[in-house]
């Protein structure tokens, strides 16, 4: 079988969506990995109350870890000049007032942009809501990164989500290990495919009918 992109490459491609001046909140999963590839001038936000903070603390520099400087996932980061600290009221206003871009993980994305990313079906205790629903509803742009299919090969890009929803019609862009897809009022538009893959092969692993972009191209990290 042909090779899919690895998670690190998907993260690199997702980070390419950001440009100087953007503020971004990174979800759990592949989005976490984007932290290493954020372009210059992009400020990263964490919903527990910091914006524009520095790089994460690596495993071999544990002496730099300070409990006062952690992100929403509990990971340690380094303070830098120009960052801001604030409370959750301010944080969720940032998130909800349409000023933030968010890169989220996903379990399923539906044709109309519905996103399921918090719960694999265990009822109320089946997952963690956290700030994910706020990000999905409030961000000015929602980029969802996920593997194109489940481990058993079933599509994660579906006609209708079967897992409990995070938010309705919220997804703008889907970036997978096979493709970059824009969600538009006309349907899902296939913009890019992984090197060596054809549009037809991607369609086969995707439930909704894809519109093929006129300028369809290969995923490119430059």
């Amino acid at each position: 079988m042909k090779e899919k992109l690895d998670r690190e490459v998907v993260a690199m491609r997702a980070a390419k969506e950001l440009k100087d001046g953007d503020c971004v909140n990174l979800g759990i999963g592949i989005p976490n990995l984007c932290a290493n590839y954020i372009p210059e001038g992009v400020l990263v936000e964490t919903e527990n109350g910091a914006l524009g903070y520095g790089p994460l603390v690596m495993q071999d520099e544990i002496e730099l870890a300070d409990q006062h400087y952690t992100d929403a996932g509990g990971r340690y980061w380094k303070p830098i000049p120009g960052m801001a600290l604030f409370d959750i009221v301010t944080s969720f206003i940032m998130i909800r007032s349409g000023r933030m871009i968010t890169i989220l993980g996903g379990l399923q994305v539906a044709e109309n942009g519905d996103l399921a990313n918090w719960n694999t079906g265990g009822g109320a205790l089946g997952g963690t809501i956290g700030g994910g629903m706020d990000l999905a509803v409030g961000a000015k742009r929602v980029i969802v990164t996920l593997e194109h299919t489940t481990k058993s090969g079933k599509p994660k890009i579906v006609k209708e989500c079967t897992y409990p929803l995070t938010a309705k019609r919220c997804t703008n862009t889907v970036i997978t290990d096979l493709a970059v897809i824009e969600v538009t009022p006309e349907g899902m538009v296939l913009k890019e495919v992984a090197p060596g893959w054809t549009a037809a092969e991607v369609q086969e692993l995707t439930e909704p009918k894809l519109i093929i972009a006129k300028d369809l191209k290969e995923i490119d990290l430059v």
Binding site: A35, N36, T46, E47, N48, G49, A50, P55, L56, V57, M58, Q59, I62, A65, D66, Q67, H68, Y69, T70, D71, A72, G73, G74, R75, Y76, P79, L85, F86, D87, I88, V89, S91, F92, I95, R96, D114, N119, G122, A124, L125, G126, G127, T128, I129, G130, G131, G132, M133, D134, V137, G138, P164, L165, T166, A167, K168
Partner: protein
Amino acid sequence: MKNKVFNSFDEAVADIPDGASIVTECWGTTGMSQNLIDALVRKGTKNLTLITHNLLPTVLKLEGIPSANLADLLPQLKKIITPVVGIQQLGAGAFVKDYVEKGLEVELTSHGTLASRLYAGAADLGGIYNPVGVGTILEEGKEKRVIDGREYLFEKPIKPDYAFIRGHKADFYGNLVYWGVYRADQPVMAMAAKCTIAEVDEIVELGGIDPEHVVTPGIFVDRIVKVPEDAMGSVKITKAAIGKIGEIDFIRKLLFK
């Protein structure tokens, strides 16, 4: 000058009755009022409603790491309002499940909605129309209303009886500053609660905090207790805990790049 400083955590929580509602901070182990929580565990107050961002995974405790742990309060709870029941990787969801089967009520909410509901409680509003949760399981039992073409859910304010908050410095009026991301939920919790109890690293004279830098004005802080250097959650103990966390491989991978 009215004295807000209490000498012990036990005294500071002594009047909390059975059935009270308490809001407190928990992001993993950061920003917790561990000493107040421990005092409430010692007191054994029952039928509590707990409002919190998170319930701490118990795994650190099992590994013998001196770390804050809100889960100790679980046996005393009637209800939890939270966006995070537990962190799956650390097995806390299953931990809470046992209590739910024994009757613990869980009200799920999103974290931003929790912030807005606490604001609404503080600002004396009767309710808010919230865009988050529409089309999800959070709709259940809630009024839905279309305003200017968009759907919203009616959410009630939260006005807890007590807030346990974790500050960095307090002056004698109760003016507070925080340290880093320990700030998070604390300011809105302090404003929403009827009685706010703060544990802090340091208590300073009036004038020890620049008026421009005050984050929580003293009117919102009713009681203050200083965290001793050798107590849970103190800077010294926390540093030691981070060191130990670094020795446990799977947590290390989770928390460090």
